[in-house]
């Protein structure tokens, strides 16, 4: 009896309170100098899964993505207001160390950008600077594990000492993903990761994302609505610096609530 009631209680609590979102944004605005690029974005992004940001060029989706790990800090004139929390911690808190944040929130860029170093050093670099590995054996373990997770290990296992820049475009991008997940981040931001790749390489990356989403929160910015529909569970549509609509991917694509979303996904503009 007693046991049952306790179990009931916990179950009902779980139902009443939905899973805590991994990332929350409230009234997030971004300014480049005088120009405002992002207007009052409010969004909750749940953990473990893929959220796609879609929208026409210049709509602010990349800008918002780069706020989450504070890559906008590198642009001198960029200014962010409002709040963005990852696991309830405000990333723009003065006390927060941005280096630690970026180790927890990894990033993959549009153009594959491996360091002009060996494949091994590309992946071992992050763990090394964060002190996650002390010995060569530990580094090797992380490199192999990351390459395996990124589905690249079989292709490069005999040439780990060769430069990462010698790989093909798709392999380079998977190397960048392996590099990003080597520090065991909880969130992976992907800024149009497939726009420089051919369809076969793109398919491989999408497969990889599908495997990684089991224990990783992935946010992908994409110009391809097909890609968003294929890989994501949730989709957010941005337009002219505003978040227009956000919801389960199937809902956005089959039954959008907003007229502008409807126009965009049916190809009227963008």
């Amino acid at each position: 009896m007693v046991d049952m009631s306790v179990k009931d209680l916990s179950e009902s609590a779980a139902v009443a309170e939905p899973a805590k979102p991994k990332i929350t944004a409230r009234k997030t605005c971004v300014f480049y100098g005088e120009k405002q690029a992002l207007f009052d974005v409010d969004v909750d992004i749940p953990g473990n899964g893929i959220t796609a940001f879609i929208g026409p060029s210049g709509c602010g989706k990349s800008t918002f993505l780069r706020c989450i790990n504070r890559m906008n800090d590198t642009i001198a004139i960029a200014r962010v207001t409002g709040e963005i929390k990852v696991d309830g911690v405000d990333v723009y808190d003065r006390a927060l160390d941005v280096v630690e944040l970026r180790a927890r929130v990894g990033m993959v860029f549009q153009k594959p950008n491996p360091f002009p170093k060996s494949i091994f050093d590309n992946i071992a670099y992050g763990p090394r600077i964060h002190g996650l590995v002390k010995t060569k054996a530990e580094a090797e373990e992380i490199v192999v594990k990351s390459l395996q997770r990124a589905g690249l290990f079989e292709e490069v296992k005999d040439r780990l000492a060769e430069p990462g820049t010698g790989l093909s475009g798709g392999q380079q991008q998977r190397l960048c993903i392996a590099r990003a997940i080597a520090t065991s981040p909880e969130v992976l931001l992907m800024d149009e990761p497939c726009s420089a790749l051919d369809p076969i390489a793109t398919a491989r990356i999408e497969e990889l994302m599908d495997e990684l989403r089991q224990n990783l929160t992935i946010i992908i910015v994409t110009h391809s609505m097909q890609q968003a529909a294929r890989v994501s569970q949730r989709t957010a549509f941005f337009h002219l610096g505003r978040l227009i609509e956000e919801g389960p991917t199937t809902g956005i694509f089959t039954n959008p609530k907003n007229q502008r979303t409807q126009d965009y996904i049916t190809g009227r503009y963008g």
């Binding site: 790990n69 890559m71 590198t74 001198a76 280096v99 630690e100 944040l101 970026r102 180790a103 990894g106 990033m107 993959v108 860029f109 153009k111 950008n113 491996p114 360091f115 002009p116 670099y125 992050g126 600077i129 964060h130 430069p163 820049t165 960048c176 590099r179 990003a180 080597a182 520090t183």
Partner: protein, 442 residues
């Protein structure tokens, strides 16, 4: 351009009459002719420049190759103890001041058939030997005093005119009264050339000797040491200062009016005439700081000031050439700004920084004007052991020899120019090689 050349009315008429077709043979011919013409202009410009270069090098090498050879006279000199060190105490001072010229002359008289009673004839014989012949013998004696009392074979320098005769620069056909060498002297020389006792030998002293009023014993040794000390000063000061300033300006400095001002001034400094840096060095390093005149340290400091803007500008360009994607990649995996710079940006910019540095050094090595201002144009005989001792620099040595009158200095001037150019070529080649070797690999 071509369209404008056609009268407006004409063009309008044409348009009305026929639609312009893409295939217009006359137009096509004009376009091809224009392309060929421009190529020809470019080629002509390059050939013109090359022609000058060939002429320049031709004249320098034509004048200067003989400086690397020096005419010597083989003499068996008896190092008579009664002349060198009559007291026999072996004091250094005695050995330094002994009359070695006398020994050399006696050896020459002996070779040419005995000491002539006629003073005029003696003078003619003496005239075959360089005025600095004593220093060669003295140095040998000072290096090893035990040779006193023995007879040794020396290759002593011949007088400058003898040297020029063997290099074919003295015309034997002009009358004796107007010739630098008399008939008797010519006869002696010819006889000794036939036996191999007068010959041209490789001129090592050119690289080691200091200043001399006699062209046959002057060398660039002091200038080489001075230039080396100055390059050392520049490398040790300008490279770290320039690189650090460039990294700060490029990576850390906020963009505001002050950094703009600094940037403009650095660019301006790179264009300031070098003589102004010489004046600055004179005022600050010598008059204010009290550093010695003619010292290569002061020269190096002045050249550091002069090279700094070049190195800063080159380093900034090299840092800027590192693609932003590499920076983003490093920041993206959580590298701090400092780590991004030291682990990624600087290693990738290094070849560019080195190239810029070498170009700055080449500039500094060839610089003359500021060194004249700080008194490095001096007659320095002794090799400087430290950067604080007086010395000269290679280009200054060239300048000083170029203003000397003797025939022998003309070839010395060209010879020193060849040495300077060789250094510049080697350094430039190193810069090019560095650029090739580490060309962009991202």
């Amino acid at each position: 351009m071509t369209d404008q050349a056609i009268p407006a009315g004409d063009r309008a008429g044409k348009h009305d009459a026929v639609r312009p077709t893409l295939h217009d043979p006359a137009r096509l011919r004009r376009r091809y002719a224009a392309e060929r013409r421009y190529q020809a202009y470019g080629l002509a410009a390059i050939l013109f420049g090359l022609g000058f270069l060939v002429f320049l090098f031709g004249s320098i090498i034509g004048n200067g190759w003989s400086a690397f050879l020096q005419t010597g006279i083989r003499l068996e000199i008896a190092l008579d103890k009664s002349v060198i060190d009559p007291a026999g105490r072996g004091e250094r001072r005695t050995l330094q001041t002994a009359d070695y010229t006398k020994l050399a002359r006696e050896a020459l008289y002996a070779r040419l058939g005995g000491r002539p009673a006629d003073r005029k004839e003696r003078n003619q014989m003496n005239g075959l030997l360089s005025a600095n012949v004593d220093t060669q013998i003295r140095d040998a004696v000072l290096a090893d005093p035990s040779i006193i009392g023995t007879t040794r074979v020396f290759w002593v320098n011949a007088q400058g005119n003898v040297d020029q005769l063997l290099k074919g620069r003295i015309d034997r056909s002009i009358p004796e009264s107007r010739r630098q060498l008399s008939d008797r002297q010519l006869a002696w020389i010819d006889a000794m050339v036939a036996t191999g006792e007068v010959a041209r030998r490789f001129n090592w002293p050119l690289f080691t000797a200091g200043a001399s009023s006699q062209p046959e014993s002057a060398g660039v040794g002091v200038a080489l040491i001075g230039s080396f000390f100055m390059m050392l000063t520049v490398v040790l000061l300008a490279v770290p200062l320039g690189a650090m300033a460039a990294v700060y300006l490029e990576e850390f400095a906020p963009t505001n009016r002050w950094t703009d001002l600094i940037e403009i001034n650095i660019n301006n400094l790179a264009a300031v005439p070098s003589i102004v840096f010489g004046l600055l060095g004179l005022a600050v390093f010598i008059n204010f700081a009290g550093l010695p005149r003619s010292a290569s340290l002061v020269g190096g400091l002045v050249l550091t000031l002069m090279t700094l803007p070049t190195i800063i500008i080159a380093t900034r360009a090299a840092i800027r050439a590192v693609p932003p994607s590499i920076r983003e990649a490093a920041l993206g995996v959580g590298a701090s700004k400092m780590q991004t710079i030291t682990h990624h940006v600087l290693p990738l910019a290094l070849p560019g920084i080195m190239t810029g540095t070498i170009i700055g050094l080449v500039q500094a090595l060839g610089e003359t004007a500021p060194l004249l201002m700080i008194g490095m144009v001096a007659f320095v005989i002794d090799h400087p052991a430290t950067p604080l001792e007086p010395s000269t620099a290679l280009p200054v040595q060239i300048y000083m020899w170029a203003t000397s009158a003797e025939r022998g200095f003309v070839e010395r001037t060209a010879g020193a120019t060849i040495i300077l150019l060789l250094f510049l070529f080697v350094m430039n080649a190193a810069a090019v090689l560095l650029r090739r070797r580490y060309q962009k690999k991202w």
